[in-house]
Symmetry: C2
Subunit: 217 residues, 2 copies
DNA sequence: CCGTGCCCTGAACCTTTGTTCTATGATATG
DNA sequence: CATATCATAGAACAAAGGTTCAGGGCACGG
């Protein structure tokens, strides 16, 4: 029974809470005491302060003392909103031929198409870019036409990582799980019904690691 | 050549920009002028103001006049941070037997595991829940062990939607593209190398629509 | 040499904003 | 009834915070 009884808050407190929420929706930053006062129809700043203390006791928000706009909402349902990453959608993976494009700074700057993901899904944003899969050729990586592949530009990967590998002798790139085995690489399709195969490590070049695959339907 | 040349900003301006970014990462709200002053090692508030004006001209940020913490970052790479959805991870899709769990309000409230996605990826948050795929049995839907499937609870779907269908006669559920054809349903595996098959519409029950599939590696 | 465009200093000014204090009812609580 | 406790009003204070101004140095091209 110790859950925060959001329903049995006094009416002004409910008003304050909902005002704060809509305000933050619109402005991205918390309101000031006086903005709350007017927005929630409270008569004085001291009353706002009074109610805020109550809401703080009820664990519905925290405050940073004496900082302007020092409200911090306690909403477990909402992740840290800053934790979103925009990933540039820089190109297309086609039949496997031609190297998967690895973008440079210029192409990144020109990209207007982006994919948004929570940072918790992809970690650090450095070197991330997104590719759209075209055609059925990536089927052995369980990737379908239209899927979005999130890549991180890297030249080395750990054993078992799913990576984009450019095969010099075939002049094509492919997405496979990579394992170093002496001076050759074992490339294992993501599709468990298919067999792995092997290439000379000197004829393969790691282009990036697959961080995430997304299929929108 | 009219692109915002982020590289040729003066050193103090770069410092200010990067300070604002780290500050907002940590605190969720923009810094004050004086916080910038100290954080970026600027000698006076007027200098901060001066540089902020320059950055504003360069379209790198906007300001709300005379509002405390009135900075608004202009980062095309960052979406509206409020547009993130937390989706409860309610269960597991196993071998296909037993219905895919469709959560009720209670189980939703108890969920502590959530998947965060940009609203732009999934649309409305209503009825969304997430399932983790276990085993290789979903291979014909191009879904692998460990993949996260984002579902929206629905009982009707449009032709061609990827949906979870519970087959009464086999007592199992499966993810397939669904097409109505008279009084039977065509169920088409997501894997283009496999053939579709047909079931009597009265023996099939739509449980939800697949909104998105996510593979983290 | 002079204007122009930066970058900078130091200070002052005034609004915004968080906090606090006193006084006043209303409502129980014994 | 006396006395806590809660909700409220109004005002004032002090600190935080945004803005502005007068002035100085430095480089560079006319």
């Amino acid at each position: 029974m110790e859950k925060t009884a959001i329903d049995q808050l006094s009416e002004p407190q409910q008003k304050i809470l909902s005002f704060i929420n809509t305000y933050m929706q619109e402005n991205d930053i918390p309101p000031t005491i006086r903005e709350i006062q007017h927005g929630a129809g409270i008569s004085s700043t001291s009353m706002v302060s009074y109610h805020l203390k109550a809401l703080e006791r009820a664990q519905l928000l925290n405050r940073r003392e004496r900082r302007s706009r020092g409200l911090v909402m306690n909403e477990p349902r909402r992740a840290n909103p800053r934790d979103m990453v925009a990933i540039p959608l820089v190109g297309v993976i086609t039949c496997g031929a031609e190297p998967v494009p690895t973008p440079d700074a210029d192409t990144l700057a020109e990209t207007e198409n982006t994919v948004h993901l929570a940072r918790s899904m992809v970690g650090n944003a450095d070197g991330l870019y997104a590719l759209e899969a075209k055609g059925d050729s990536m089927i052995d990586a369980l990737i379908n036409d239209g899927d979005i592949v999130i890549m991180r530009r890297e030249t080395e990967v750990k054993n078992g990582d799913l990576a984009a590998v450019f095969l010099l002798d075939r002049n094509e790139s492919t997405l496979k799980r990579v394992y170093k085995e002496g001076r050759r690489l074992k490339l294992k399709p993501e599709n468990p019904t298919l067999k792995p195969f092997y290439v000379d490590a000197r004829h393969a070049q790691i282009q990036g690691r697959v961080v995430c695959v997304i299929r929108r339907t």
